[in-house]
């Protein structure tokens, strides 16, 4: 039901496209397009399908030399039961959830504040600050791992969630995205508030932020997805099994479960499930969010 309402505007966009290219002429062409699109879609869904089929096999069937889509001894949820009994996947999911949520909240707060200053307030050194922030977009995270690790050791933060969270809240490109959005809000909307002597903070929280919901959502989506899936830094900064995030934890099961293919696939699917479910419900917002923030840089 919810998904239907969400996709309606997209379909409306489609009919506009159809107007450009008259249907009559396109019948054969459209069939070909549909066929190619369908082949690509099948190719893109096969890894999911194969992982799912494997996850619902018994370990014996999964490791059978004869590859089968329908296992000889039938489907079973044993692998999922075992994975849940181990308890690691639910724990890692929770770790990923709260670290990613913390990263998203902190990133949004500090980025929106600085973006407002850059967009609206005339202060000494603003141009320099702007230049420095834009220039820092090019710094690739892998360059920082060695000194950052050393720094975290010195701060006694290695193997804590802080080590995962704190270095991930700096997204200079998102500051730039937010500033560009704030620039487009007409200043007249704030004038009355200024006349009444409202403080900058009040104007920011009561006028600017409510008008910026779409861009805040887009930035939040982008930051959350990248934090949820980040591997390199959480992998380096944590060792303790109880605080691992999902992507890092999964790396350890490969060696733990070894050749237990059904359990490997069950774990992978459970790890993939949360974001896929969120995507199913908020497809339009996520697609719009990624398209708005995407070109600003990753």
């Amino acid at each position: 039901m919810a998904t239907q309402t969400l996709t309606r505007p997209a379909l409306r966009g489609t009919s506009a496209t159809q107007l450009r290219q008259p249907r009559k002429k396109m019948t054969a062409g459209r069939a070909a397009v549909l066929a190619v699109a369908a082949i690509l879609a099948v190719l893109w869904l096969i890894p999911f399908a194969w992982a799912t089929v494997t996850a619902f096999k018994s370990e014996t069937d999964a490791a059978a030399p004869k590859v089968s889509w329908i296992p000889p001894s039938g489907f079973t949820a044993d692998a999922f039961v075992k994975v849940f009994q181990d308890g690691n996947i639910p724990l890692w999911t929770w770790n990923s959830l709260y670290t990613s949520a913390a990263i998203t909240v902190i990133t949004l707060a500090i980025s929106a504040l600085v973006a407002y200053a850059l967009s609206r307030i005339d202060f000494r050194g603003k141009k320099v600050l702007m230049t420095v922030i834009i220039a820092s977009i090019i710094i690739p995270p892998p360059v920082l791992i060695i000194p950052l690790f050393y720094q975290m050791v010195a701060l006694h933060m290695i193997d804590t969630s802080w080590a995962i969270i704190l270095p991930q809240v700096i997204h200079p490109a998102m500051v730039f995205v937010l500033k560009k959005f704030f620039d487009q809000i007409p200043p007249e909307l704030e004038e009355a508030a200024v006349m009444d002597g409202a403080s900058r903070m009040r104007i920011f929280t009561q006028i600017i932020l409510p008008l910026s919901r779409p861009i805040l959502a887009a930035v939040a989506i982008f930051v959350f997805i990248s934090a949820w899936n980040n591997f390199l830094w959480p992998f380096i900064s944590t060792n303790d099994g109880s605080i691992l995030t999902l992507p890092v934890g999964l790396q350890t099961i490969k060696s733990a479960y070894g050749i237990q293919y059904a359990q490997n696939m069950a774990s992978a699917l459970l790890a993939a499930l949360p974001l896929i479910l969120v995507f199913l419900f908020f497809q339009r917002q996520i697609i719009k969010g990624v398209a708005t923030t995407g070109l600003a840089g990753t």
């Binding site: 489609t14 690509l40 879609a41 504040l113 000194p147």
Partner: protein, 330 residues
Amino acid sequence: MSSLATSESAEQAPSLPGQSRRNPSRCIQAKKSPFSTAQSSPRRTRDNLNGWGFAAPFLAFFLVFLVWPLLYGLYMSLTGKSLTGANDSLIGLANYAEALADADMWHSLGNTLYFTVISTVPLVLVALVMAALVNVGLPAQWLWRLSYFAPYLLASTVVSLFFSWMYNPQLGLINDSLAKIGLPKVAWLNDPNVAMWAIVIATLWWTVGFNFLLYLAAMQNVPAQHYEAASLDGAGAWRQFFSITLPQLTPTTVMIVLLQILASLKIFDQVYQMTAGGPAGSTRPVVQYIFETGFTGYRLGYSAAISYIFFGLIVAVSVMQFLIARRRSA
């Protein structure tokens, strides 16, 4: 002449006080707009305080977790620092000299560049094809978007588990399918000549959806009038795609290619998880070499030096991107 000059100055003289009286008032009126630069010093002080106050939280994180490690890393690269704390003294550019003579460093840098080249082409082309197909106006838009974009939402480890399993030489789905159509089996992740391509295929499946979305968004912004005019002139769908859609997409394509190059240069996760850089170092990217010299070899200083060589490469590509983007907008 002289009389004229005096009369002018005489005329100016009385008007001066009036002007100077009127000017400040005008000035104040012009500055009354709440957002223009205030000249009055309390206002300016308040703006300075507000500006830096709003910037402060971001700046604090920025300085501690970005600027400081960046500078400290540069310092480390000039020392013999190791995780065992053996030699902390400055050794000048010795690390850089060693890196430039290090065959393993060049090999890993070569692998990164090779991956960047062979992954960028399909990641842009396939994304363009997918977007063009969906943009024709197929039914069930959500289905296509979901199938092409969903893998982008997965963590690298999930992708690596999926593909390691499908690439399995004996039990894998891919070799089984090849055998069924009479093709020889391939040792996907175990053959030095094939492993990098196997990584590219997995990466294509994983991240092409992102470029697909950027292309689709750009295509939907092409004004419909262009197509209407072209159909009136009798241009078919192919013709319209090549002479309208593609040229209109040029700025998007330039951005996607450059972003993709920058993303591909940072390759690490999938390789580390699927092949650990093997077989025989044939897939080990430079980021993995940085990681290994630092955390397995414990040579932090040397590792930092390689990081900065890699950084130099990224900066060079970014500057190129900036110059191209500026020339386009000019």
